[in-house]
């Protein structure tokens, strides 16, 4: 199969999948459910292939058969994960999970230092310099301290001072959440724009170039007829169910 044919089939497959998933926006249906399972299957199979091909084969299998026999221990330790499925010895999986969780938890001292020391350092802003800078620094401190005071739980917010700073803190938090709201909308819309861009600028040209092939015209005609027939069948069936449901109630 030459390059352009593979490319055409890929674009048609992608368009079919895109429309199948978007059909869920109309109504949850079998078509969407079927393609969802295909995705889980493909993603799972691909994961096994890529992990073997790019990690386990070059970094474990080849060195082991090349002479470093001790790498077999990695397989033994790795197998401990799967004791999760044995009823009697499930606890052995907790040993390897515990090792990995401990491993991650042990990094907390370095992570706290490298992440929050520079944050504390850059929070030490001198209240000096040009007027706009002073305004910015004062705004920074008011918001930082008020927002932090909102998250104190071990003493009662009795005195008016604390109660009002905590209340102001919740107000200032709204500015931060507003920024996150705007950024999230921009991100999510970009993803849909990406799909629409594919449909309009890759699939539509593909359809236009395929339209002149006679075999394409025939198959698309047949596909259209099948789709209409299935649509009518479902509408009738649903109406019959609705009528029967009305009779029962």
């Amino acid at each position: 199969m030459d390059k352009s044919l593979v490319n055409s089939i890929t674009i048609w497959a992608a368009a079919l999948c895109t429309l199948a998933i978007y059909s869920v926006l109309y109504k949850e249906n079998k078509f969407y459910r079927f393609f969802e399972h295909i995705f889980i299957g493909l993603y799972g199979g691909y994961g096994v292939y890529i992990t073997w091909h790019e990690i386990l084969y070059p970094k474990w299998w080849q060195p082991m058969v090349g002479g470093q026999w001790w790498w077999i221990f990695a397989a033994v330790i790795g197998s401990m994960f799967y004791f999760m499925y044995s009823s009697k010895h499930a606890w052995i999986s907790r040993v390897i999970f515990g090792l990995f969780m401990g491993f991650a938890a042990g990094g907390t001292f370095r992570e706290f230092y490298e992440t929050y020391w520079p944050q504390m350092a850059s929070s030490m802003k001198p209240i000096a310099g040009t007027v706009p800078n002073i305004i910015n620094v004062v705004v920074f401190y008011v918001i930082l301290l008020a927002a932090m005071s909102y998250f104190f739980f071990s003493f009662e917010h009795k005195s008016v001072a604390i109660k009002s700073t905590a209340a102001a803190g919740r107000w200032f938090l709204m500015i931060g959440f507003g920024a996150m709201f705007g950024a999230t909308v921009m991100g999510r819309m970009t993803l849909f724009i990406g799909r629409l861009n594919f449909l309009l600028n890759q699939w539509v040209p593909e359809v236009q170039s395929d339209i002149q092939y006679p075999w394409f015209q025939i198959t698309s005609l047949i596909a259209l007829l099948v789709l209409i027939a299935v649509g009518i069948f479902y509408i009738i069936r649903n109406r019959r169910y609705a009528k029967r449901a009305k009779e029962e109630t």
Binding site: T10, A13, G41, L56, W69, I72, Q119, A179, L191
Partner: protein, 299 residues
């Protein structure tokens, strides 16, 4: 695509060295299985302690590597006796990082089948019991093995088919792999993620209600920033001068100020809270202080 020949036990030197290596590997395997058997035999009351000790040992690596002083401590000219040993230990831990990384990467990769075996259980049951929609589970199995086999075949030259056929077979599986990956995997993943945009559109119209003053402040800020980030924002206030005082009234300048001062202060306040929370959480995991949860279940 380079083809990788899977020639098991390819060995550089000597006729018997491959057998010797095989013996070594099998020997190590036996030791490993003995170790697992030993673990399985530990009586239930010691199991919790084993888990706690292993978790603690796991946590020791990075904490000691960071906390221990890396060069001997001197008071004036007098060196504290043990500190050279401690410094050597600390530097040893740092030098071990690459091999720790290797082992962590490989053992972590073995966990790849965990999610898969869970899926096999669910879909296997569906196919066996013919529960409604079992054909979906069948499709799961077919596509799972199809892309995996095609993935391996595109890299492996089937010598016994003769060089011409092998090359054609390899190219064919390469094409099928590309169709499956670019046609199906990419489009399904991208489209599923993009569904959220639709939920935002319908929620924007039917759910986002300004029911309180704080919701008004949040949505007002969101509106300004949404406009300021995209080209239309700059266009809306293009009539303002680029320099001087009024420049700061331009929409993208207001957005930028909101992001680098008020938003930055709020995010830092939240981040300090999260940082301390993460420190507390790591301590609770490392020292197995967790109660009444996943860690405490019946062993």
């Amino acid at each position: 695509m380079h083809s990788l020949n899977y020639i098991p036990l390819a060995l550089a030197s000597g006729r018997y060295s491959s057998l010797i290596l095989l013996a070594y590997i099998l020997g190590a395997l036996v030791i490993g299985i003995a170790f697992l058997a030993g673990l399985m035999a530990t009586p239930p009351r010691y199991r919790k302690i084993v888990v706690m000790l292993v978790t603690f040992a796991g946590g020791l690596y990075f904490s000691l590597e960071f906390l221990l002083p890396h060069n001997p401590i001197y008071i004036g000219k007098y060196m504290i006796p043990g500190s050279r040993g401690v410094a050597n230990l600390a530097n040893g831990l740092t030098a071990a990082k690459p091999s720790v990384a290797d082992w962590a990467m490989i053992i972590g990769s073995f966990a790849l089948l965990l999610g898969v075996s869970n899926l096999f259980q669910i879909h296997g049951k569906a196919v066996r019991k013919k529960t409604p929609g079992w054909y979906n589970s069948l499709a799961f199995f077919i596509t799972f093995f199809l892309i995996m086999i095609v993935g391996f075949l595109k890299d492996y030259k089937l010598g016994f088919l003769g060089s011409h056929n092998a090359a054609a077979f390899q190219a064919g599986s390469g094409n099928l792999y590309n169709i499956l990956f670019n046609g199906f995997v990419q489009s399904l993943d991208a489209t599923m993620f993009s569904l959220i945009a639709f939920y935002i559109v319908s929620a924007a119209y039917r759910a986002f209600r300004v029911k309180s003053a704080e919701a008004a402040l949040m949505m007002g800020t969101a509106g300004v920033i949404m406009l300021g980030l995209v080209p239309v924002g700059a266009w809306l206030t293009n009539w303002l001068p680029h320099t001087g005082f009024f420049a700061s009234m331009r929409l993208e300048q207001i957005t930028y100020w909101l992001l680098i001062w008020p938003n930055m202060a709020v995010q830092r306040a939240i981040d300090f809270g999260l940082g301390i929370g993460a420190l507390a959480m790591s301590l609770r995991i490392w020292l197995s202080l967790e109660r009444g949860s996943f860690f405490d279940r019946q062993l």
